[in-house]
């Protein structure tokens, strides 16, 4: 009835999902026993957070500008120019800010995590860690997971702020919208809850990026090809997982705050 190849792929995908869930369980147990080194955590926050600034800020700024311009072109037809920034504010806070930031970080950080851990695996450095009585989850996964959980909401907040400011700048200086009403409408229609939803989403996406990157690195195949494949899969799986998670988070949190 079903294609055997398709069946095998479904089984393999479910098995992989189960392995990631087991890794999540291990890292949670490690977190509860406070096995993280502050020094390693600070380095990972630097690597994931500070070094992702430029890519996230550029993405946020141009997304805000494009969204503002597109919205203006539609709203101008019905004389609603000053509502432009309100649309940008709500969209950036609850959807575009967290999702685009996470996708950019997945590309930069997810691949780097998979490559670093994968290379350690194929050069026996992970076995060396184990012989030095160090659990790879404690030393490699936990600091990256905590750092990503901390860094993503901060990066997302920066992206939202820069996106709104860039859109405001284009609206006022290029499109000629009345600045006072533009800003006032944005504050009126963008609620705190939109921002909170965005930051909760960013927190979840940080975990997805770090967990999938670490999992792909820890289980990568041998040789350069294995590491390359692990990097590609880390980015692809993280990006798809973020987009799927975004739908469910929007649905659940929307219901929770009574928006749906």
């Amino acid at each position: 009835m079903f294609n055997p190849l398709a069946n095998r792929r479904v089984v393999a995908a479910l098995a992989e999902f189960g392995q990631i869930a087991l890794l999540a369980r291990d890292v949670t147990a490690s977190l509860l026993k406070r096995r993280v080194s502050v020094r390693d955590l600070l380095y990972q926050i630097f690597f994931i957070g500070i070094k992702s600034q430029s890519v996230v800020l550029i993405t946020g700024a141009f997304t805000g500008m494009v969204l503002g311009t597109q919205t203006y072109m539609q709203f101008h037809k019905v004389k609603m120019d000053t509502a432009t920034l309100a649309v940008v504010g709500v969209s950036m806070c609850s959807e575009l800010g967290p999702v685009l930031t996470a996708l950019m970080v997945a590309g930069r950080v997810g691949a780097a995590i998979a490559a670093e851990i994968g290379t350690m695996r194929v050069t026996e450095q992970i076995d060396a860690l184990r012989t030095l009585a160090t659990h790879p989850v404690d030393y490699l996964v936990l600091p990256r997971l905590i750092a990503a959980h901390i860094a993503l909401p901060i990066l997302t907040l920066e992206s939202i702020i820069v996106g709104i400011l860039a859109s405001y700048f284009v609206g006022v200086n290029v499109l000629g919208i009345e600045p006072a009403y533009l800003w006032e409408n944005m504050l009126k229609y963008t609620h705190q809850v939109d921002l909170v939803i965005g930051l909760i989403k960013a927190f979840v996406y940080g975990g997805i990026i770090a967990l999938i990157g670490c999992y792909k690195g820890l289980t990568c195949g041998l040789g350069a090809e294995g590491v390359g494949r692990a990097c590609t899969e880390a980015v692809v799986y993280s990006s798809i997982s973020i987009l799927i998670a975004n739908f469910f988070l929007t649905l659940v949190m929307g219901r929770l705050v009574g928006l749906l």
């Binding site: 080194s37 670093e116 350690m120 050069t123 026996e124 450095q125 076995d127 060396a128 184990r130 012989t131 030095l132 009585a133 160090t134 659990h135 030393y139």
Partner: protein
């Protein structure tokens, strides 16, 4: 004491170890020899729990480590130091950070005490003054030495060596052999060396075990092994390829 009982390991349907059993006493120095691909490194990794067998037991001081999970194994592994074939130094760290890794994670020492212990370990392996170098700046022999310093700095009871002289020229190989003997004699550690270098086996091993056809084929003193008239042992010691291999080689 290390005791292996009826160890079996299969990789992808192919048996690598079948019914391997032996015992290594505290302070003993044993060389495990055998052809490339005979399962020597696989056997060594079972001794420290890096691989789990399909059946059989590995007892370290009477504790069966086969029944342990990864977290329980961490406690047992503190008794071990291991030197890898590729040295497996952490390439994001300096030599000093590599050597200090085990001390920093498991012992509550001051930075001064860590620096003193690291300098002592590096001096023992003739690498004094290389603390700030990166692994990429070291030669193959120096990396092996740094790997050895990392393995002995926290004074383990057992040191495992996986092909310590592979890829090194004869002079550097000899210096590594002397180093292993120095570590064995000064620190009084149990030593297990996996090698296909007959000179290493003769110099470092007080006992030599030969792995052949998935099992321990010979287990004797180096003098007895080197005097053996058994055709399999003899062929390995003399390094003579059989007719089939010569044919295969000549045809690429």
């Amino acid at each position: 004491m290390i005791e292996v009982r009826d160890l079996n390991k299969v990789f992808g349907g192919q048996s690598v170890l079948r019914g391997v059993s032996f015992r290594i006493e505290n302070g003993e120095s044993v060389a495990i020899i055998g052809r490339s691909g005979s399962g020597k490194s696989v056997l060594l990794k079972h001794l420290i729990g890096l691989l789990q067998p399909d059946s059989g037991a590995v007892l370290i001081d009477g504790e069966n480590i086969v029944a342990m999970d990864e977290r329980q194994l961490l406690r047992v592994r503190r008794k071990f130091g291991m030197v890898f074939q590729s040295a497996a130094l952490f390439d994001s760290m300096t030599v000093a950070e590599n050597v200090a890794f085990g001390l920093r994670r498991h012992e509550h020492l001051t930075e001064g005490e860590i620096a003193r212990r690291v300098a002592g370990a590096l001096e023992m392996v003739d690498l004094a003054g290389t603390q700030l170098k990166n692994p990429a700046e070291l030669s193959g022999g120096m990396r092996k030495r740094a790997g050895l310093a990392r393995a002995i700095v926290y004074e383990p009871q057992i040191v495992l060596y996986d092909e310590p002289t592979t890829g090194l020229d004869p002079i550097v190989s000899d210096s590594i052999d002397r180093l292993m003997m120095r570590v064995r004699d000064q620190l009084k550690v149990t030593t297990v060396v996996v090698t296909h270098d007959m000179r290493t086996a003769r110099q470092v091993g007080q006992r030599v075990m030969m792995l052949h056809d998935k099992r321990i084929y010979a287990n004797a003193t180096p003098a007895e092994i080197f005097a053996s008239t058994d055709p399999v042992v003899r062929q390995f010691i003399d390094g003579v390829a059989d007719a089939k291999e010569s044919f295969d080689f000549s045809h690429g």
